[in-house]
Amino acid sequence: MASISEMYDVGWEEMRDKLRKWREDNCRNSEQIVDVGEELISEHSSKLGDDVWIIYEQVMIAALDCSRDDLALTCLQELRKQFPDSHRVKRLSGMRLEALERYDEANKHYDSILQDDPTNTSARKRKISILKAQGKTAEAIRELNEYLEQFVGDQEAWHELSELYINEHDYGKAAFCLEELMMSNPHNHLYCEQYAEVKYTQGGLENLELSRKYFAQALRLNNRNMRALFGLYMSASHIAASPKVSAKVKKDNMKYAGWAATQINRAYKLAGRGTKESKCSMKAVEEMLESMQITMS
């Protein structure tokens, strides 16, 4: 099998830079990381300088994702040699045990880190991940809530908690988590849009109106967010179709839905330029919007 550098005609610097980009964007494209990283560390490790350690860490985690325990162990051993007493490396050992489903041993690892350093957030979060992996969702939620009482600013944790609540269909509490995230990240269109989706799912006229407002807000922050555009269309349509609203509210929402429909059609036309295949989905969108207009009026 040809090497990555041969297949894509790239040098080791480009491979290293690609790995850095994936690190910064927090991508979970583990197979690609393993392919690129494995070649980089086996053939060019001497050229990487101090970057090599963070690359070992990145490749190790990706290897665990791909069940490549051989590669993971190689990376881990290099890191252990270089950083013998490090908690960060100990956490990686724990993650390897998790990947092998040896959860009790992994927990012991994390507990010993926490005995040494009770403020170590990574170890605590790994313990919560173990609960999630074992299907102990209620406990995971409880532990995560306790964690967040201490570490109120941990965005990743708030987002994880919102997802756990959504999966348990506890939309009210999920909304609360997303509210925390929106407060600390007022310009993040994705949190706005997810909050709107949760409110929509909760249902009821008040929640639908809130959801429409937040879909609109997400669009204001990023006018290319298709989910927000569709969401605005759906929520406005449902409000307009509701028998409980006044004539004015109905008229306003039909206007919003009409605007959203035009934007959706425009977005599809722009995307469909030059391709025959997407004409079918464009037609489907037009028909869907038309059929919903009929039910609204």
Binding site: M226, A267, K283, A284
Partner: protein, 204 residues
Amino acid sequence: MPIQLTSQAYCKMVLHAAKYSHCAVNGLLVAEKTKEKKKDSHGEPILCVDCVPLFHGTLALAPMLEVALTLIDTWCKENNYVIAGYYQANERSQDSRPNQVAEKVAARISENFSEAAIVMVDNSRLTMSCFEPIVHIYDHHENKWKGREVTFDCFEDWSEAQKITSALLEGRSYENLIDFDNHLDDLRNDWTNPVINKSVLDLC
């Protein structure tokens, strides 16, 4: 009455699960619309010719699901298909039972198609070679979803399905699989997956 899967439907389902092995995934199964049901067609299997991969990650939110169902329903009407089932692969590998989301979507599908089925992918048995079918099929009986024994009869041609799925998994075709989430990220992504469909056809 019971559903049957073609190679294309089965393999795209498995590719979807393989692409997002760390998430839950779901999608819809479509069958060709037949004319009025004959009285003696009771017991004839319904052939699911294709599937449309929907979402990965958080499956329990309503708005995009509604958009997808409406859009795909319109697409089905144009192509003489009908939405006949729903598939899901859960996030955890040991968990392959249908949950509330699966039951809700399937109930919605059942409003238009009375014999809708739920197909759950068994993550724990997902391998490159796929020597045996890795799905569980559930039918609606007396208000409950009951699992049915999966035999080779549940497939139009199991050995073909196995061969094609295994070949596409090894070739990492799942990297090019488009689901509805990918489509919402970039409208140019085509959720009908013409490229993968062609690969399947080429291997038939």
